[in-house]
Symmetry: C2
Subunit: 453 residues, 2 copies
C-alpha cells in the first residue's frame, strides 16, 4: 500500500492488515459434538455474513455451501464453490488457513503442508452432483460421514446443525437425505468474541469512518450562512447553507464523505446516513435535503472494509445554532455517553449499559422509552459490530460483557418536529474496561480538524 493510503504512523498495522484473516472452526466442531450431531452445514451467498465469517471466502452472488464435521485431530471442512470461483476459494478458504512455519497447531501430523492453524483440514470441492448448493451439501455430508464409518446409513436419521434461517430448499435437500436439522447459536457466539486480528480490522475501518467524519465536519465548517442577523431573528425557515458556491444538501455532504471512504479503501455500503433538522430524527435517512443553519446535522457513517468488517461512528453538528434544543440535547447525550461508558467492563450485564444511558437521558428530561416517531430516546444504546453491522451482543439484551466484544455506544435523542442528536463510538471491551477504536472529537459547532483533507 502506498504512503497516501496508510494513516501516518501505523506501518505495523498496515503490515498486519495484509495477513489474511482466518477463523477458528473448533467452536463449530465442538457444537457438533455436543449436540450429538454429525455435521454443521451453512448455505448462502456472498451476502450471508455467517458464511463470510466461517470461510473468509468473499464468495459469489449465488448460493454456496460449507460442511464441517468432527474428525482427527479436530475436524474437516469442505467448501462447495462454483467452478468459476475455485481459485478464489482455494486462496481465501484453504491457503489462508494453513499454519505458518513454526506455528503450534492443533494438528499433529508431520506434513507441514497439510496442517491448519486450528486442526480443521480444509478443502474446496467444485465437482457438482447437482446444481443446487443444498443438494451438494447433502452429498458432502453423506460422503464425509459414511467415509468415516460414522453413525447410521443413508436412511437412518442423523442430526445436522444449521442456521434456523438456512434456505428452505437447502433444508429440504438435507432432510430428504436423512438428516434432522437442529439450529445452533455457535456461530453467533463465536462471532461476538473478536480476536485481536479482527479488532485490528475493525479499528482500521473505524479510522476510515472518522476520516470521513472529519471531511463532513470540514465541509460544514466551510459552509456559509446567507441570511442576515435581522432575517435570522424573524424565525422564518432560513435559506440553506452554501458550500463551494452551491446550496449544501445531505446528498452533497454524503458524496464528500463517501469519496474519503473510497480513497481509504473502504466502501460506504449505502450506510452513510445524513439527516438535517427533522430528517435527523429519521434513523435511516439517506435522502436529499437542503441543510439549513440552526438545524441539527446528524451523520452516521458505517463503512465496510475489504475483509467485510464494518465501522460505525456518529456525530451531530449545528451551524449557526441558537443554543436551544440542540444545546440541551448535546448536554444530555454527552452525559448519557459518559454514564454508559462508565459501566463497561467484563462481567457487567450488557443491559446495565443501556439502563444507565437511559436513566441519564431521563434525568435531563428526555423520554427514555419513546416509540418510533415520538420525542425522546427511541432505540437501544448499542449493538455488536463485526462482519455484520448489527450483531451480538446488544447492550439492551441478556448476557454479560466479555473481553473481545466490540459494540457501539450511541445514545441519542430525537424530536420529529426539530431534529435528532446522537453521538456514537465503537469500543472493544478489554480485560479491565474498554478502548475506543478510533477517537474523534466532540462539539456542536463544526471545526476543520487538522487531519481532515
Amino acid at each position: 500500500m502506498s504512503g497516501e493510503d496508510a494513516a501516518p504512523g501505523e506501518p505495523e498495522a498496515a503490515e498486519e492488515g495484509r495477513r489474511p484473516l482466518r477463523t477458528d472452526l473448533r467452536p463449530i466442531v465442538e457444537a457438533v459434538r455436543e449436540a450429538d450431531a454429525v455435521a454443521f452445514v451453512a448455505v448462502g451467498d456472498r451476502f450471508d455474513d455467517d458464511l463470510r465469517y466461517l470461510t473468509r471466502f468473499s464468495g459469489p452472488d449465488r448460493p454456496y455451501a460449507l460442511v464441517v464435521v468432527p474428525d482427527e485431530p479436530v475436524g474437516r471442512a469442505v467448501l462447495c464453490a462454483p467452478a468459476l470461483f475455485r481459485e478464489q476459494a482455494e486462496r481465501e478458504f484453504v491457503a489462508a488457513a494453513r499454519a505458518s512455519a513454526g506455528e503450534a497447531t492443533a494438528d499433529s501430523t508431520d506434513d507441514a503442508e497439510a496442517t491448519f492453524h486450528d486442526g480443521v483440514a480444509r478443502e474446496v470441492r467444485t465437482e457438482s452432483v447437482g446444481d443446487h448448493a443444498g443438494e451438494r451439501a447433502a452429498a458432502v455430508v453423506d460422503d464425509l460421514v459414511d467415509g468415516r464409518g460414522a453413525i447410521g446409513s443413508d436412511t437412518a436419521d442423523r442430526t445436522v446443525l444449521a442456521s434456523a434461517s438456512i434456505p428452505h430448499d437447502a433444508a429440504v435437500y438435507l432432510e430428504r437425505a436423512g438428516n434432522d436439522l437442529a439450529s445452533t447459536d455457535a456461530v453467533a457466539g463465536a462471532r461476538a468474541q473478536k480476536t485481536p486480528a479482527e479488532v485490528d480490522r475493525l479499528r482500521r475501518v473505524q479510522r476510515a469512518a472518522v476520516a470521513g467524519m472529519a471531511r463532513a465536519e470540514a465541509v460544514l465548517a466551510e459552509s456559509g450562512v446567507t441570511d442576515t442577523a435581522d432575517e435570522k431573528s424573524k424565525g422564518d425557515r432560513r435559506p440553506p447553507l452554501r458550500w463551494a458556491d452551491e446550496p449544501l444538501t445531505t446528498e452533497r455532504l454524503r458524496r464528500e464523505v463517501n469519496q474519503v471512504l473510497a480513497a481509504r479503501g473502504v466502501r460506504d455500503a449505502g450506510n452513510t446516513v445524513i439527516g438535517a433538522g427533522p430528517s435527523a430524527a429519521d434513523l435511516h435517512y439517506v435522502g436529499d435535503d437542503p441543510i439549513r443553519p440552526g438545524e441539527t446535522v446528524l451523520l452516521d457513517i458505517s463503512p465496510r472494509g475489504p475483509d467485510g468488517y464494518y465501522g460505525d461512528v456518529t456525530r451531530t453538528f449545528v451551524v449557526d445554532g441558537d443554543g436551544g434544543w440542540e444545546r440541551r440535547a448535546y448536554v444530555a447525550v454527552e452525559a448519557a455517553r459518559e454514564a454508559a461508558l462508565d459501566e463497561v467492563e467484563p462481567g457487567v450485564p450488557a443491559k446495565t449499559v443501556h439502563g444507565e444511558a437511559a436513566a441519564e437521558l431521563a434525568a435531563y428530561g428526555f423520554d427514555p422509552n419513546a416509540g418510533e416517531g415520538e420525542a425522546g430516546f427511541t432505540h437501544g444504546t448499542g449493538h455488536g459490530v463485526g462482519v455484520s453491522l448489527h450483531e451480538g451482543p446488544s447492550l439492551s439484551g441478556a448476557g454479560e460483557l466479555r473481553p473481545g466484544h466490540v459494540v457501539t455506544v450511541e445514545p441519542g435523542v430525537y424530536d420529529p418536529e426539530i431534529g435528532g442528536f446522537r453521538l456514537e463510538d465503537l469500543i472493544v471491551v478489554t480485560d479491565d474496561g474498554y478502548e475506543i477504536l478510533a477517537e474523534y472529537p466532540f462539539g456542536i459547532v463544526p471545526e476543520k480538524r487538522p487531519d481532515a483533507r
Copy 2:
C-alpha cells in the same frame, strides 16, 4: 442535486431520477390466482433483491416480510416492518406507489388518496404478533384470507406461493399455520423485463460506471514506464508503472475509480474488479498487485445506484505493450462482441448470442469452452442486470430476448500465464434491436478522455 453531480445536458433524466420507483404487483397477484393459491409471501432482509424489487423498501438488516393477496379491484399487499422502520416503509412502499393525480389506475374507487397505480392497495404493519418475520407473515395471511371469507379455515390446507429459498424457519411458521408452500418464478419473470423507469436508473448507474472507467484510463495514460528500451528487451519482469510518484497497483487504481463513483452518488459495492497480468485472468480479483508495463490491465466496474440498480462495464488496457498476445486477444474479443451484438433483437433465442461470440473466438484460435483456470473463453457471454448484478436472462440460457431485457455483452479470453482481455457493455433490448446504455470508447492503449476528471 447540484450542478456538479448531474452529467451535463441531462436535466430531464435528473428530474426523472427523483421520482420514486414503483413496482407493478399485478403479475404477482396473477400468479397467485393462476396457482389457485391464497397468497404470495416473501421473507428476507435488505440484501434480498426480490424483496427490494417488490417493495422498493431499502429495508433493515434483519428479516421482514411481504404478503400479497388477490382482492378487489386487484389485490392487497402488506409489508411487515420493524417498528423503527415504519416511517421509511410508509414512504418507500406505500406513498411512492400511490397513483398521481389524473393517472389512470386499475383501482376504481373515488377516493384519490386510496388509489394505487396498479390497483394493489398497500399498507405497512408494524404491530407484531411475535418477533419472527415468518410468524408475522403467517398471521397476516390468516388475517387477510379469513377477513375476505376466503377458502378454508386455519386448519384446512391452502397454498401460499414463495421463493424456494425462503428462510427455512419462515417456511416452517407458514406450514404450521396450515399453508402448503409452492414456488413461483413470477418475481424473476417480472424482474427480467425492465420498465422505462428502471432502464433510466440502469442508464444513470452505467454512466457513473463509465465515468469511473474514464478515471482509470486517465491514470493509466498518465503512468510512467521506468525501464529503458534496452532493459525492456531483455524479457525480465519489468518494474511497475509509476503514477503520482508511487508505484501503481491495482488497489491504488481501484481507489481512484471508487472515488469517482462516490462523487457520482453510486457505491462501488465491492465490485471494482481490477487485475493486471495473470490476475486479470482471475474473474473476481480484488487484491493488490503492482501494475507493470506490457500487462493486460482488466477493469470490471459494477457499481450500485441509490435505488439498488447496478451498472456493469469492462475495458482492458495495456501500457507499453509489445503487440503480442493482447493484440490477438483484442482483435478476437472485438470481433466476438460485434458478432454477439449483431444477433440481438426481440425473438432471438438468448443462447444464439453466446453461440455467435464463442464461434468468433474459436475462429481466432481461442478455446470457446475453456474450463476455469484454462486458456480461452471461460464464461458466458452475458447476464441480466437489475437490482441484482446477475439476474435473468442469461445469454447462454433458454428463452428468447424481449424488449426491456437489460443484459451485459462481455466476451473475453484468458490465459492464466499471461493475462485476460474482456470488453463488456450493458445493453437494453429494444423493439428493433438494442441500445447501449452508456457508450465508452475502445482501444488497448489508454488515453485521457475529455470527460475524465
